[in-house]
């Protein structure tokens, strides 16, 4: 009897703590979404109000009246597209070769690449800027994308995935006279879909949310991506009110929110494989 009371109160405490923290994590999102439909006069009121009254689309209109904003969306999409596509192709090829093909120096090269994970991005930032500058690709989305087009942790993830297959499969293809490159395109690539999906999702998040790279390598406002553009708009005080910034933030967070809601199982599983490099 006493035991039951202890158990029950433990359950109640658990739920209170879990729900409390869920609110802490969710309220900023809910509050920004509702505030993006408010006038600034209402959104800045104290004590805060939670329902838009009057309901207005003015903030979004103001955003799109700024000609730069649609360009930032396009730039972000282009940058993310190149990164996701490049990583899917390059890292799945490399991961397959590192896991399945035998050639001299394979493991040494893999360790050399893996060691790159230890070097913080700030060490390579300035030299990379100089390289890209010498190539004449500063202020160019393509030049920026080259820097992270073959992410080492993606190579690692792909290699681990391909290494988990039984070797009979690739052995059989080899005996049938299927060369290593052909085997990659006809067998390994289609088989690698789950891991390729994880790479694509992680690279999407990384590229869509990237800030330091775009900030350094993109120079003119027309070429900015969304995060850089929004922080630029904020620092230049493009609007008297703060609500357009909130609306812009909501729009910029939408793709990752939607991706998360639809593919969360995938993402959470991916964390287990990569160990959570976000």
């Amino acid at each position: 009897m006493k035991n039951d009371i202890v158990k029950l109160s433990w359950f109640i405490v658990t739920y209170i703590v879990l729900t409390g923290f869920a609110l802490v994590y969710l309220i900023p999102f809910i509050r920004s979404i509702t505030a993006s439909f408010m006038t600034w006069e209402q959104a800045s009121r104290f004590p805060p109000e939670f329902f838009p009254n009057p309901f207005t689309l003015e903030n979004y209109e103001k955003l799109f009246r700024l000609e730069l904003f649609p360009r930032w969306i396009l730039n972000s999409a282009l940058y993310t597209g190149i990164i996701v596509f490049g990583n899917v192709i390059l890292t799945s090829m490399a991961g397959y070769a590192f896991a399945r093909l035998r050639f001299p120096g394979r493991d040494a090269l893999f360790s050399v690449l893996l060691a790159l994970l230890m070097i913080p991005g700030f060490v390579t930032l300035v030299p990379n800027y100089i390289i890209i500058y010498k190539l004449g690709l500063v202020d160019n989305i393509l030049g920026l994308a080259l820097l992270s087009i073959a992410d080492v942790s993606s190579i690692f993830l792909m290699r681990q995935y391909y290494a988990s297959f039984p070797s009979d499969l690739f052995e059989a293809a080899r005996l049938d006279g299927c060369g290593p490159v052909k085997a990659f395109f006809y067998i390994a690539f289609p088989l690698g879909k789950p891991a390729i999906g994880a790479v694509a999702v992680y690279q999407f998040l990384g590229a869509w949310n990237a800030f330091l790279g775009p900030l350094v390598f993109l120079r003119t406002p027309e070429n900015f991506t969304l995060p850089v553009g929004l922080s630029f708009a904020f620092q230049r005080s493009m609007w008297v009110e703060y609500t357009p910034i909130i609306a812009g933030s909501v729009l910029a967070a939408m793709p990752t929110l939607i991706l998360f809601v639809t593919l969360n199982k995938y993402l959470i599983r991916g964390i287990v494989i990569t160990g959570g490099k976000g």
Partner: protein
């Protein structure tokens, strides 16, 4: 000529060389980009740190002068010069305080939340989703939202009122509260991410262990301390190491919430901001390279010592 091609073809046809060439072809792209933008750049950074340069004129070898600038900055900061004279020291001091605030808090919070959500309860999936959401959102966007929430008459001060009446600092314009505000945003943004890492590790712990402990009469808190924590140790080490690496390089939040010069009194200035300013506003890439190598050394030493003391991170 034809003979040459026949030779080439027969050479390629040998299984071994086929595999070698195929492997090279498949690895080429990934290896090339990483060797150029990773290794070459890292070596170039070391080279650059001994050079005086302004991006345009010729490079000039100056020996350890760039490192001397960094060390003098640190020395001046220690004897108490104002922050404008000692940007690197200010950033260094702030980032250490910030790391000491963020890493323990986010690790502890993530651990507790994961342990609670790992019980057999309804709606565990919902909680997982709610906690993980901030981790997938862009830090810049999070900062922009929190600038508004942290305003003097903003939402956070309104909520605080219920717990600590009368406490309503102007977070982002007060030099005493700017860094804690950034730390709060960082903890909010990353703890959920690590919660999911812990949950994954928790699910690998066999349930029998808990059941055996329960039969022996151990309550939930004792089970947590004597079973969960020891078995989770590798994951805790991993989360702390990753947290430290991330915290020491913090840039996005400070850039947006404090501005590139670090806000009032430089109270939101970080090493990362200083490297950026050195390279792209003061236009001294050599000094920036020296500072970045200094940052690398700090990260390497702290994570190395931590792993030596508490066990290696398994990748």
């Amino acid at each position: 000529m034809k003979k040459f091609f026949i030779f080439l073809h027969s050479y390629y046809d040998k299984a071994q060389t086929k595999e070698f060439i195929g492997g090279m072809l498949l690895i080429l792209g990934a290896a090339f980009f990483n060797l150029v933008f990773g290794y070459f750049s890292a070596i170039f950074a070391v080279y650059l740190s001994f050079m005086k340069w302004d991006y345009i004129g010729p490079m000039e070898f100056v020996g350890f002068k760039n490192y001397e600038i960094v060390l003098r900055d640190l020395y001046r900061g220690i004897i108490g010069a104002p922050y404008l004279l000692t940007p690197f020291f200010t950033g260094f001091k702030n980032i250490i305080i910030y790391t000491l605030m963020v890493v323990p808090a986010q690790t502890f919070l993530a651990l507790i939340l994961a342990a609670l959500a790992n019980q057999r309860i309804r709606g565990a999936q919902f909680y997982k989703l709610a906690y993980f959401l901030p981790g997938t959102t862009c830090p810049v966007i999070i900062s922009l939202i929190f600038i508004w929430l942290f305003m003097k008459k903003g939402f956070i001060n309104y909520m605080i009122q219920f717990f600590a009446p009368g406490f309503a600092p102007d977070w982002l314009n007060d030099r005493n509260y700017l860094l804690p505000a950034i730390a709060i945003v960082a903890i909010w943004g990353t703890s959920g991410h690590f919660t999911v890492s812990f949950l994954a590790a928790l699910q690998a712990i066999p349930r029998d262990l808990y059941e055996a402990a329960m039969l022996d009469g151990a309550g939930p808190i004792r089970r947590f301390i004597f079973i969960t924590i020891p078995l989770l140790r590798p994951m805790i080490v991993y989360v702390v190491v990753m947290g430290v690496i991330g915290a020491l390089q913090m840039f996005d939040l400070a850039w947006v919430m404090a501005g590139s010069s670090g806000g009032p009194g430089g109270s939101g200035y970080t090493i990362a901001l200083d490297i950026y300013n050195e390279a792209f506003t003061r236009l001294r890439p050599g000094v920036a390279a020296a500072k970045s190598l200094f940052l690398f050394t700090i990260i390497f030493i702290t994570t190395y010592l931590f792993q030596k003391r508490y066990g290696k991170v398994i990748r």
